[in-house]
Amino acid sequence: MNTQQAKFILQGYRPDGADAGDATFCDALEQARHDQVLGDWFAREQSFDAVISAKLSEVQAPAGLREAILAGARVTASGTPRRIWWRQPAWLATAASLAVIGTVALALWPKQAVADNALTEFALADARHSETHGGHGRETGALQAMLSQPSTRLGDQLPVDFAALHNAGCRTVSLGEREVLEVCFKRNGAWFHCYIAQRGDFPSLAATTVPALLDRNGASLASWSDPAHLYVVVSETGRTALEKLL
């Protein structure tokens, strides 16, 4: 092994000594011990690597990121079926009966048709950690501007091209295997969080162009849909603020 080959190997040796037991480095390390020039080079290389590692370790994750991850995982886990007891005939029959009752209730009271439970829970949890939002692309800017316009009412047709927004860098989060876009906008001095999902991903949801409202843990939520999309807007400044957008 010549000096250049030894350098090539040794520059992959981590400065914390974690590779000390790796046989790949043994010969090169041994050579560095006997070759003064190579040894000096290796010492400088390790010092350089150590200081870069130390600098990198000074970078801290944003406040709230840990909590946002745990909250998001909690919702994701709740949307994953873990047991199949409900597939037994008796439970299926009960569920079918409840579904009929539910359908009738929804027909009689359409404004209660709130978005898919997993989606609303996710939106409420995610909105609580708005400090981690960001990364909106240019196309998102147009939608954000429209949502910020005082004349735009929730339930209006919005200029949404899901794929274009996604490709432009709009913040995208996963809910199960479904993707949901998120756009923050400001109205009347308050921030709102608009979540956009594709209707095809939530086939069980009843279509409603009239926003339905929901209050949960101090946050308020409005949801509605158009033929292609499902919308959920979350406000943490109270129901009154949200109602002003209707």
Binding site: F8, F48, A61, I69, G72, A73, T76, T132
Partner: protein, 183 residues
């Protein structure tokens, strides 16, 4: 309810994952999103991983794949592999000087390294994964990882020299990688 195991996994890895994401995205918000997204995927399918000892590699690999999925820049990566030989030990500031630099400035220098070299280089400096792990994660031979580390360090030294010169107001010679590559 989120399991204790998941909480422990988040506590152990979310910060290094964020640092890795920051070097990729060059943006704190996007890095936070990417880190979150990685753990969402774990929550969704990570339980299928039989060997929990491989969780760290799995998380870094998943984060990187999610980044690539969003970027789709495979062509650029291929093109950068065709560059010429590595410049031998380009001039870099003394270690004492680098120690005195702000961590943000050092991260900025790291972010100036071409992506194809920056990925293994950042993983190397995070010290969480061995070069063998990095090779497995990137699905490239070990020799390729070593080569990318070597080139990445050369670019990092040049970037640090520029940062250090900028910080002290020195005039730097017109002898940068970019100038050489695009005459």
């Amino acid at each position: 309810m989120v399991s204790d195991m998941f909480s422990q996994l988040v506590d152990a890895h979310y910060t290094p994952l964020f640092r890795f994401a920051l070097s990729l995205t060059k943006n704190s918000s996007d890095a936070g999103d990417l880190t979150q997204q990685t753990f969402f995927i774990w929550a969704k399918q990570g339980h299928a991983l039989r060997d929990t000892g491989k969780a760290k590699s799995w998380l870094f690999t998943t984060l990187y794949r999610e980044f690539l999925r969003g970027r789709r820049r495979a062509d650029r990566v291929t093109a950068l592999e065709d560059l010429g030989p590595v410049e031998a030990d380009p001039p870099a500031p003394e270690v004492d000087i680098i120690s005195g630099l702000d961590a943000g400035l050092v991260v900025e220098a790291l972010q100036e390294v071409d992506e194809v070299y920056r990925v293994p280089l950042t993983l190397f400096y995070l010290q969480d994964l061995s070069y063998k792990d990095i090779a497995g994660m990137l699905e490239v031979p070990i020799g390729t990882v070593m080569s990318r580390l070597s080139r990445g360090k050369a670019q990092l030294r040049s970037a640090l020299a520029r940062k250090e010169s900028g910080a002290t107001g020195k005039v730097i010679p017109f002898q940068t990688d970019r100038a050489k590559r695009f005459p």
